[in-house]
Symmetry: C5
Subunit: 91 residues, 5 copies
């Protein structure tokens, strides 16, 4: 999983119908200093009720679909956890 | 999913027959400032009727196939939504 | 899919037996100006008869296997189309 | 698999319930000189009892799920081995 | 597949038991000039008897598992061929 920060959300009226009712969060990957990385933002479906500004764990690829109960949903990223604390040492 | 801008389309006469009849859009990934990123463009199958210049959500990998009704189609990217608005804060 | 240029081919005598008889093309990813990108070259199995110097569409990951009739072939990239024209605007 | 160093761990109270009870390690990819690479850190589920500072092998994508006995767990990275020695030559 | 050079091997005593008995090679991606690229090294399971210094084809993702006879092995990279010659032109 990558560690990211919830920095926004996306509104998309015209979309695959299986996406209807799912919150689409914009996540920016974080580095070890808790800084936003210069990488492409991800849009992930939220299953844990993550809020703006929170640090989250994002599962990507086929694993993202398992986070939802709809196995045929065409998504490739899901927020699977909200990070309370990160303990980093030994860098 | 990544956020991208539809910047073109591809014509390919010689192709896997399961791709026939599907619109192949060229998508360039966008950053949070809505600028085109310096990354490889993606070619994605369109299922939502996205037009040139529109901002879209692209699902990649095996999830892209789920966006179509043909489960054995050899594609790895599909446009699954058209972005109306992006609300970004807390950067 | 990514857009790439066929720039060579690979000869490998010692290989997984399911790869025998398949043409292995070296593909370099292209940017929107049709220039070779500074990225790792891909080796992809050809199913459409692509020739040296042609611009092609490459499907990656599990989707590549679907391009062939052998579902258990251990490949992660396949040429699924030859690009006739790319129409790019709105950059 | 990538080679990485265990540099921390993540505490996440609110998470997908299938993640409960699994140790979530923060792994930083290593280069051939055993230096931390300037890449996004990964969070991986540990199945081998890896400790802080150890060099490990991380399997990513759908393969990560196979490392656990729960096939529908929404994870995309797992520590599958602890590296004792790396023999590198011919650079 | 990517093209890489076998530059070493990994010894890991503590590992997923399905990895026991498999040779774990360290592969560095190569560019078109046969130079090692500045990318993260991969650890791949060898199925073709590749030796130190050889140029090989590495299949990644779920395709890597197909290279072995154990479909549930948690690996994401396998050496599927040894490159005899690469013919590159039209750059």
């Amino acid at each position: 999983m990558i560690i990211g920060k919830v920095i926004g959300n996306v509104v998309a009226t015209k979309k695959d119908e299986r996406l209807v009712g799912h919150k689409l969060l914009i996540i920016q990957p974080l580095d070890l200093d808790n800084s936003l990385m210069d990488k492409a933002p991800r849009v992930a479906v939220d299953i844990v009720g993550a809020g703006m500004g929170e640090t989250v764990l994002v599962a990507e690829g086929s694993s993202a679909r398992l986070a939802l109960d709809i196995s045929d949903i065409p998504i490739d990223a899901a927020v699977v956890g909200i990070v309370d604390t990160m303990e980093v040492k030994g860098q």
